[in-house]
C-alpha cells in the first residue's frame, strides 16, 4: 500500500474530529480512530501509524506505543476472517488444545499466520468471557461456542 493511498474520506475525517471532541485530551480518540484506520486500510502499517499521528499532532512513536500495546491492532495484513481460539484456563481444560491443533492441521498454518489464499488468520487468545460455553472461539465479531472438531469444520467451511 503506498503512502499516497492512505487517507480517510471527508466523511471519515469529520468522524475523526467528532471523536476527538469527545475527550478532554483529543488523544483519547486514538483507539477508535486506529480501529477506523484498520478497517479502512486493512491493517495498521507503519504508514498508517504516521498518518494517524498526523491527524492527532502526535509523533509517530507515540502512536506506535499504542498500536504495539494492544493485541487487536493488526500490524501485518490479516486474512478476510480472523479466527481467535481461546486457550485460557476454562477452554484449555475443556479441550482448546485439541481445537487449536485441529484448526492448524486443517488450515495448514500456525498460530499468528494467514492462509495462502488470504481467507483466514488464526490466533490463540486469552479469556473472552464465555467460560460457560468452553471451548470457544471468536470468528470475526461472532462468538462460536461449545466447539467440537466437527463444529469447527462446519464453521470454517462457511467462511469465504
Amino acid at each position: 500500500m503506498s503512502v499516497q493511498s492512505i487517507a480517510f474520506s471527508t466523511g471519515q475525517l469529520a468522524e475523526v474530529r467528532r471523536l476527538q471532541g469527545l475527550y478532554p485530551d483529543k488523544r483519547g480518540a486514538l483507539l477508535p480512530v486506529l480501529h477506523m484506520a484498520q478497517d479502512t486500510f486493512g491493517y495498521v502499517s507503519l504508514e498508517v501509524e504516521e498518518y494517524v499521528a498526523s491527524l492527532f499532532g502526535l509523533s509517530p512513536a507515540h502512536v506506535h506505543e499504542v498500536v504495539t500495546f494492544y493485541t487487536l491492532y493488526f500490524r501485518q495484513p490479516r486474512g478476510r476472517h480472523v479466527v481467535a481460539v481461546c486457550h485460557n484456563l476454562s477452554c484449555h481444560l475443556a479441550g482448546a488444545p485439541l481445537i487449536l491443533a485441529h484448526l492448524k492441521e486443517r488450515l495448514g498454518i500456525d498460530v499468528g499466520e494467514t492462509t495462502d489464499d488470504g481467507r483466514i488468520t488464526l490466533q490463540a487468545v486469552e479469556c473472552l468471557c464465555a467460560c460457560e460455553a468452553a471451548p470457544m472461539m471468536q470468528v470475526d465479531d461472532r462468538y462460536e461456542m461449545n466447539l467440537t472438531p466437527d463444529k469447527v469444520d462446519r464453521i470454517v467451511e462457511a467462511l469465504r
Binding site: L46, E49, L58, S59, P60, A61, H62, H64, E65, T68, F69
Partner: protein
C-alpha cells in the same frame, strides 16, 4: 507557604513543592528513578515511597505536593521494605551485566541496590531478552535489557526538545524503549538522554568503553562551543591514560545553572572538545623560515616577537584577536596594543557559513567570548586589516587562534594578505593552515588546561578552571602576551589569570566590581546587563 515535618525536621517550602524536593532541602535524599526536576512527573518507578501520617499506605513522594501540617517519614520499616521490594521488581529482568556495562560506577541500580536493596535474589526463571547495543542515533546507544522504563528519555524528547522520537513499545515485561521504526535520535540535544538515564540503558557512543568512570576527575568549566556559555563539568582521565589511547578529556557533562542551561547542553558543545587532544595541537614555539621549521625556547620565541614588533612601526602592526580567547587574554592583548600604540585591533572574523541557532540553548555565534571582546573595545574592522596587509601597509600581524583560511573570506584574499606581511605571528592551541604560514607559531594552552573567564552573549561572566596540565610547552595566552609586554619593558606583575582579571575589572567599566569570588560557580553579570529569563524548554 506550607510548613511540614519530614523525619522530625520542620521545613517551610513554596506551595507546590513536591516531597522529594522538600526533603532535599533538609538534606534527606528520597531514592527515585523516574522523577527529574526538569521533566513532568510520571510516577512510574514507585521507588520514592514515603509514609505520610494519616494515610493508609506508602505514597510516592514525587507526585505529592507538600501541604501544611503534613508529617512525613522516609525511614519507617514499611518504607524500607517497600523500597527493597521495588528494587527487586526493577531487577527481575535486568541482565546484571555490570562488568561490561559502561554505566557501572554511576548506575543508580547499583547505588540503590546497595542502599535500599540487599535482598536475596529469588529470580530463578529465564529473564526476558531484549535488543542490546542498538545505536539510536549518532550519539546514543540503547541496551533495552538494562532499561527500567522510567521514561525520562521519552519525556525529555517530548517536553524539552519536543521531537518525540522515543516511545515505550509493547506491553508488560516485554515493554521496551525504542524509536519509531526507521527513525533516528538525531535531535541536537540527544546526548542529554544519556545523562538523565539512571541506568545503563542509554550510553554515550563517544564515551563508551573509553575509561571506567571511577578513574575520572571532574572540573567545573564553561562550554566554549557558542555564546551561550553553558555550565559544564569536564571529566578527564588522568589516571588511566592508556585506556583511551591518550585521550585526556573523556567527556563533558552539563552542570546545573538555573539561569543559563539548567540541566542541559547541546550535542555540538558536548562533543566539540576534540581539539584539546587533537594531533593538530601546537606543543613547542617554532620559527618557520623559508620552509625551514626550527624549534625555539620560549625565551627565544618572545625575543623574536619583540624584535619583529620593534622593527615595525605601530601603525604598520595589527592584531587579530579571537572571541574564543578568555577575558584575561583579551585584556592582556588590549594592554599590549595600548602599550605599543597599535590601533589596528579586531577580533570579528566571518564564519565560513552562518551558525545554526535555535530558541533553546544553541547560539549562531560559535564563540564563547564575543561579548567580552566587544566590551573591551577590541571590535576593529578585521577585513580592513586584511586589505591593509595585502597593500603592504601592515608589516607585522599577530593572529590569535583563528584559521583565517576557514572563514567567510576567499582563500585567495587571505593568502595574498598573509604573503604580503613581513612577520606573521600565530598564537593558539591548534595548528592550522594559518599557523603553517606563520613566521612564529606559539603554542597556547587549551581552555581546559587553564584558568579564565568567558562573557556570554547575555553579559554573564563565568569561570572555567584547569582540568589538565598543558600539553608540551603550551602556556596560557595571557602569559604569552604578558611575557611579550614584559620583554618590551612594560611593567607586568600578573602571574596568574586572576591578576589579569583584576586589571580588567579596574580598567573596563563593564567589569567593574567583579572578582573571581563574586563570579563563583554560577557567574555574575557585567555592569549594565540584567540577567535574562532562564533558558526554558520550548513550550
Amino acid at each position: 507557604m506550607p510548613k511540614l515535618t519530614i523525619d522530625g525536621k520542620e521545613i517551610e517550602v513554596p506551595a507546590g513543592t513536591n516531597l522529594i524536593e522538600a526533603a532535599r532541602r533538609l538534606g534527606i535524599e528520597i531514592p527515585h528513578y523516574c522523577y527529574h526536576p526538569g521533566l513532568s512527573i510520571a510516577g512510574q518507578c514507585r521507588l520514592c515511597m514515603v509514609d505520610i501520617e494519616k494515610t493508609p499506605r506508602p505514597t510516592i513522594a514525587c507526585n505529592t505536593p507538600a501541604t501544611d501540617g503534613m508529617i512525613v517519614h522516609t525511614q519507617t520499616d514499611r518504607v524500607k521494605e517497600t523500597r527493597r521490594s521495588i528494587m527487586e521488581f526493577h531487577l527481575i529482568n535486568h541482565p546484571l551485566d555490570c562488568p561490561v556495562c559502561d554505566q557501572a560506577g554511576e548506575c543508580w541500580l547499583q547505588i540503590y541496590y546497595m542502599q535500599h536493596g540487599l535482598y536475596d535474589p529469588r529470580m530463578k526463571d529465564e529473564k526476558v531478552h531484549k535488543p542490546k547495543a542498538v545505536p539510536l542515533g549518532p550519539h546514543v546507544m540503547l541496551d533495552a535489557e538494562r532499561c527500567i522504563l522510567c521514561s525520562r528519555c521519552v519525556r525529555f524528547c517530548d517536553e524539552v526538545t519536543q521531537t518525540g522520537e522515543l516511545g515505550i513499545f509493547n506491553r508488560g515485561d516485554h515493554s521496551e524503549i525504542g524509536l519509531f521504526p526507521g527513525a533516528d535520535l538525531t535531535n541536537k540535544y540527544s546526548g542529554n538522554v544519556v545523562d538523565i538515564c539512571p541506568v545503563g540503558a542509554l550510553t554515550d557512543r563517544d564515551f563508551r568503553f573509553q575509561v571506567r568512570v571511577w578513574y575520572l576527575d571532574t572540573t567545573k568549566s564553561i562550554c566554549p562551543g557558542c555564546a551561550r556559555g553553558c555550565n559544564i563539568d569536564v571529566h578527564v582521565n588522568r589516571r588511566r591514560p592508556h585506556h583511551a589511547e591518550g585521550r585526556r578529556v573523556a567527556r563533558v557533562k552539563p552542570r546545573f545553572n538555573e539561569d543559563v542551561n539548567r540541566w542541559w547542553m547541546c550535542d555540538e558543545g558536548r562533543y566539540g572538545y576534540g581539539f584539546v587532544d587533537a594531533p593538530t595541537r601546537l606543543v613547542l614555539p617554532v620559527r618557520n623560515d623559508a620552509g625551514e621549521t626550527r624549534e625555539l625556547s620560549w625565551g627565544g620565541a618572545i625575543a623574536a616577537v619583540v624584535d619583529a614588533l620593534g622593527r615595525t612601526p605601530a601603525d604598520q602592526t595589527a592584531i587579530i584577536a579571537s572571541p574564543k580567547l578568555a577575558n584575561e587574554d583579551l585584556f592582556a592583548i588590549k594592554t599590549l596594543a595600548e602599550a605599543r600604540g597599535i590601533r589596528q585591533v579586531g577580533f570579528r572574523v566571518p564564519p565560513p557559513e552562518p551558525g545554526y541557532e535555535d530558541d533553546f540553548l544553541i547560539r549562531a555565534d560559535k564563540n564563547p567570548n564575543t561579548r567580552g571582546a566587544e566590551l573591551m573595545g577590541l571590535d576593529g574592522k578585521v577585513d580592513k586589516i586584511l586589505n591593509e596587509a595585502t597593500a603592504h601597509r601592515v608589516r607585522s600581524l599577530l593572529v590569535f587562534e583563528h584559521d583565517l583560511f576557514d572563514t567567510g573570506w576567499r582563500e585567495s584574499d587571505v593568502r595574498s594578505a598573509l604573503e604580503a606581511v613581513d612577520t606573521l605571528i600565530f598564537v593558539g592551541p591548534n595548528g592550522s593552515r594559518t599557523s603553517d604560514r606563520a613566521h612564529l607559531a606559539l603554542p597556547a594552552s587549551a581552555w581546559v588546561e587553564r584558568d579564565g573567564t568567558f562573557t556570554s552573549f547575555e553579559g554573564r561572566v563565568q569561570r572555567f578552571r584547569p582540568a589538565l596540565g598543558a600539553l608540551g610547552e603550551a602556556i596560557p595566552t595571557w602569559e604569552i602576551v604578558g611575557r611579550i609586554l614584559a620583554a618590551t619593558g612594560a611593567p607586568v606583575t600578573a602571574t596568574r589569570a586572576e591578576h589579569w582579571f583584576r586589571a580588567l575589572a579596574a580598567g573596563v567599566p563593564a567589569f567593574a566590581g567583579l572578582t573571581y569570588q563574586s563570579i563563583g560557580d554560577t557567574g555574575a553579570m557585567t555592569a549594565g546587563t540584567a540577567p535574562q529569563a532562564p533558558a526554558e524548554a520550548k513550550a
